[in-house]
């Protein structure tokens, strides 16, 4: 059971990292002029992903340890 949950976590984390890298790459590539909103948008995206992945990790650890 734990192995399945760990595998699900790693797959989700990998998908998140891949999507994140692609989104950042495209924003950098397009490099739209006069664009302050993009930085704010990327910051929200980054921190949201970090919080959700960390929360999933903590829950996973809680399940394994307890």
């Amino acid at each position: 059971m734990n192995a399945v949950l760990i595998a699900i976590y790693f797959i989700t984390a990998l998908i998140s990292i891949k999507v994140g890298l692609l989104v950042f790459y495209h924003f950098k590539k397009f490099d739209l002029p006069d664009d302050e909103k993009a930085a704010r948008f990327l910051s929200i995206y980054k921190w949201g992903s970090v919080i959700l992945i960390s929360a999933s990790f903590l829950t996973l650890m809680a399940m394994i340890i307890w």
Binding site: S16, L22, H26, K29, L32, P33, T59, M63
Partner: protein
């Protein structure tokens, strides 16, 4: 990728109407809110399975059901978060930039396919605006199509707010462009660049 020329000024940046994004994101937002409420509920409210269920499946008693549920919700929320931002990036990077020299269109066709095309004001022959339907009429958005001279690349501003105003801006910019150049010398090239 979008490099402005020396002294080139941006007159307007257009994206699809915000209502279009709202329609696309509404089901995802509802799912996300339900997920957050579910996670809070599972975390703070203790619950147990009905006895009939645990009698049939005693293995359920050994499982940390509350944590497994919370974990499932968090994993689902993480995936929904990624989908939301892919949709938002698609909306945000699909834009039309009107400068005093040309109109630039950038589009993220998919995560591995992007497009950049430009049409100089010298090449514009006519602009057609199409606002059809109840929602576009009420919310004042529609399609704006630029007809160009020479090799034609479909240049359509899709579902942009205030298309008539944008049309005016482009025509005014074209007029100013010709005034600066003195005459139409046909030197402008329509450029399309597709990257995978």
């Amino acid at each position: 990728m979008v490099k402005l020329r020396e002294n080139e000024k941006i007159l307007q940046i257009k994206r699809r109407h915000i209502a279009i994004l709202a329609i696309e994101l509404t089901p995802i937002a509802l799912f996300f809110i339900a997920g957050v409420i579910g996670a809070v509920f599972v975390f703070f409210v203790p619950f147990s399975l009905p006895d009939t269920l645990t009698d049939i499946f005693p293995v359920l008693l050994e499982m940390k059901l509350q944590l497994i549920l919370l974990y499932g919700i968090l994993i689902a929320l993480t995936l929904v978060w990624q989908i939301t931002f892919v949709i938002f990036a698609n909306y945000y990077l699909d834009c039309w930039i009107v400068t005093d020299e040309r109109t630039i269109h950038t589009e993220l066709k998919s995560l591995f396919n992007r497009l950049l095309s430009t049409v100089p004001h010298a090449r514009i022959q006519d602009i057609t605006v199409n606002v059809s339907g109840i929602m576009p009429t009420v919310l004042k958005y529609g399609d704006l199509q630029i007809q160009t001279a020479g090799k034609f690349h479909e240049f359509i501003f899709r579902q942009v707010p205030d298309p008539y105003k944008t049309k005016e801006v482009i025509f005014r910019a074209q007029k100013e462009y010709f005034r600066k150049k003195g005459r139409f010398d046909g030197s402008g090239e329509t450029v399309t660049e597709v990257s995978g």
